[in-house]
């Protein structure tokens, strides 16, 4: 057959196919439905971007009563990371410092998958997921930046993952006197056979974030879309709270001083069977009173019989956990917790208020035995979400983001 004729025939087939596929199932409905489609409302004026303007990421870390604050901001399509510190428990803050002096950093950051910060003395390290247009969810490899002068100047630095290609997400970092520690999710082992699972990975740095040691896989099968929490106790043990799979309850494990990992238990054994994306993690903190150690946790679940957030404690280093105590109502989603050695434990969370999501807190003065009623701490008329909390020298500091419909800002409250 003449080659040109062949090309024309192929073209005709393709053109015909694409035209016929535009007849969707909806054309088979009644004329009334067709009329309704024609009268469908015109689109309202869209925001240029579906990412809010203002603060889109927030993390805070307490290193020996110096609070290190990292915010991510979005302005007309461009993202930037900002650093501040406070030495008075959040009463006052240093001037904001733009990390890497970059107005247009490549970042895929949202509340719930925030950029992360940790510090050891004058070494401060931040990490985040790069924005990558070529990947399916635009999530790329981890990026990191480091300051060796207490946050004044910054350079790109080595990232914790030794599997460099990524994507890497849902990072958390912490530090103690011995090391910096990082956890994150990635799929270096390829498909696991379980829908949308990823592996939970860990690495540590013993030179202030300059380099990171070989990675450990803590759990090959974890939720692929929930934030992780890593915390160290005073004995050199590193605990990780993360959402597991099958069931989708939170699990806790420990990396001991010999760098051995042990998964300890579920924190809140609700047996939630969920093949989907909760986007909910938990919070963890430690308390020591009269030589007795207690771990405090707050976990979120979507189990239909236990919908909401729950407080639990452990007196045997995470091996066994108390009965779950629900805080707030069924709409409570994102929560965090902090505990002081004076007996105070404070939990913060967001749940539906009169104007939409708002931030609430509750306090226990007796190591988690009794709890106050929930009290709203975010402003009325604002949408407030994803609270975080750290203990300070004399109390606690909570941070969250508030949105008035036009701009999203960072809010703080000392408790």
């Amino acid at each position: 057959m003449n080659k040109n004729l062949l090309y024309i025939l192929i073209f005709a087939v393709v053109l015909n196919t694409s035209c016929s596929t535009r007849n969707s199932v909806e054309t088979s409905v009644s004329p009334q439905h067709t009329a309704e489609i024609k009268e469908a409302p015109s689109k309202p004026k869209k925001h240029k971007h579906h990412i809010p303007e203002g603060v889109i990421s927030a993390d805070i870390f307490n290193d020996n009563n110096r609070l290190h604050l990292l915010t991510g901001k979005h302005s007309q399509g461009k993202k930037s990371l900002w650093y501040q510190y406070s030495t008075d428990g959040g009463k006052s803050w240093s001037i904001e410092n733009k990390i890497l002096n970059d107005d247009n950093i490549s970042a895929k950051i949202v509340r719930g998958n925030d950029a992360q910060i940790t510090a050891q003395g004058s070494n401060v390290v931040v990490s985040w997921t790069k924005h990558d247009k070529t990947t399916r969810f635009h999530a790329g490899a981890m990026l990191a930046a480091r300051s060796t002068d207490g946050g004044e100047t910054w350079q790109y630095s080595e990232i914790p993952p030794d599997w460099k290609q990524g994507p890497h997400g849902y990072i958390d970092m912490t530090a103690d006197n011995h090391a910096m520690h990082a956890v994150w999710l990635d799929s270096r082992n390829g498909p696991s056979g379980v829908n949308a699972s990823q592996g939970l990975r860990y690495a540590r740095s013993i030179d202030g974030g300059l380099s990171w040691q070989a990675n450990n896989t803590l759990d090959k099968l974890s939720c692929s879309c929930c934030w992780n929490t890593i915390k160290t106790d005073t004995k050199g043990n590193t605990y990780v709270l993360y959402r597991d799979k099958q069931p989708s309850d939170l699990s806790i494990g420990v990396i001991d001083k010999k760098q051995q990992w042990q998964r300890l238990n579920h924190v809140g054994a609700f047996d939630w069977q969920f093949d989907g994306c909760p986007h909910i993690g938990g919070g963890l903190d430690f308390q020591t009173i009269a030589g007795k150690n207690r771990q405090h946790a707050v976990v979120g679940t979507g189990h239909p019989q236990h919908l909401g957030i729950h407080y639990l404690y452990s007196d045997d280093a995470g091996k066994n956990w108390s009965t779950a105590k629900q805080l707030g109502d069924e709409s409570a989603i994102h929560a965090d917790i902090a505990a002081h050695d004076n007996g105070r434990v404070v939990t913060v969370w967001d749940m539906m208020g009169e104007d939409g999501l708002a931030v609430f807190f509750a306090e226990s003065k007796d190591q988690g035995v009794h709890w106050s009623e929930a009290e709203q701490i975010s402003k009325a008329g604002m949408r407030a979400t994803h609270p975080r909390i750290v203990k300070t020298k004399n109390g606690f500091l909570s941070i969250w983001t508030e949105n008035n419909g036009h701009i999203q800002t960072l809010a703080t409250k000392r408790l």
Partner: protein, 161 residues
């Protein structure tokens, strides 16, 4: 002649990539759920909520893309829950899922939880979530990815009526 072949190739490629060019993207806000239910009263349809960040959702959309043409009497309605998600992203996702629809919806409120609560007071945004409506307006809500065999069973049962 070489030029003609080149032109034909370019036009073919352009045509293939614009399968969803006529896609109408509608704003989904408080009240839209009720409107859609009224629109499809006494007709079987499936309402699928998804997000660009939800890998389960992509898998589920692809499953629907594979099956829906076999059940032309059942309407498939997709709703992106990322507020004001860009058209290019919406079209890209539907193209990738092989869903060739006339219209789709995108959340059009800054604060999505207001829409969640309007649809179901117990929904906090977990995804995917799929609402099945049979020809008698009976609703079944499924949280998490739908199993393919269960989906085929439901679609077949609706088609038989």
């Amino acid at each position: 002649m070489m030029k003609l072949r080149l032109i034909l190739c370019v036009v073919m490629l352009f045509t293939i990539n614009t399968v969803n060019a006529d896609l109408s993207i509608l704003p989904f806000s408080k009240g839209s759920f009720s409107d859609i239910k009224k629109q499809y009263h006494n007709k079987p349809f499936v309402l699928i909520f998804w997000s660009e960040t939800c890998s389960y959702c992509m898998k589920e959309l692809a499953m629907f893309g594979k099956l829906y043409k076999q059940y032309p009497d059942i309407a498939i309605i997709t709703v992106a829950t990322d507020p004001f998600l860009e058209d290019e992203i919406v079209k890209g996702v539907l193209n990738q899922s092989q869903l060739e629809l006339n219209q789709t919806w995108v959340f059009a409120e800054q604060f999505p939880e207001r829409i969640y609560a309007d649809i179901n007071k117990r929904w906090r945004g977990e995804l995917p979530v799929t609402h099945f409506f049979d020809g008698n307006n009976q609703e079944t809500r499924h949280l998490g990815i739908v199993k393919e065999d269960e989906l085929i069973e439901w679609l077949t049962a609706q088609s038989a009526h």
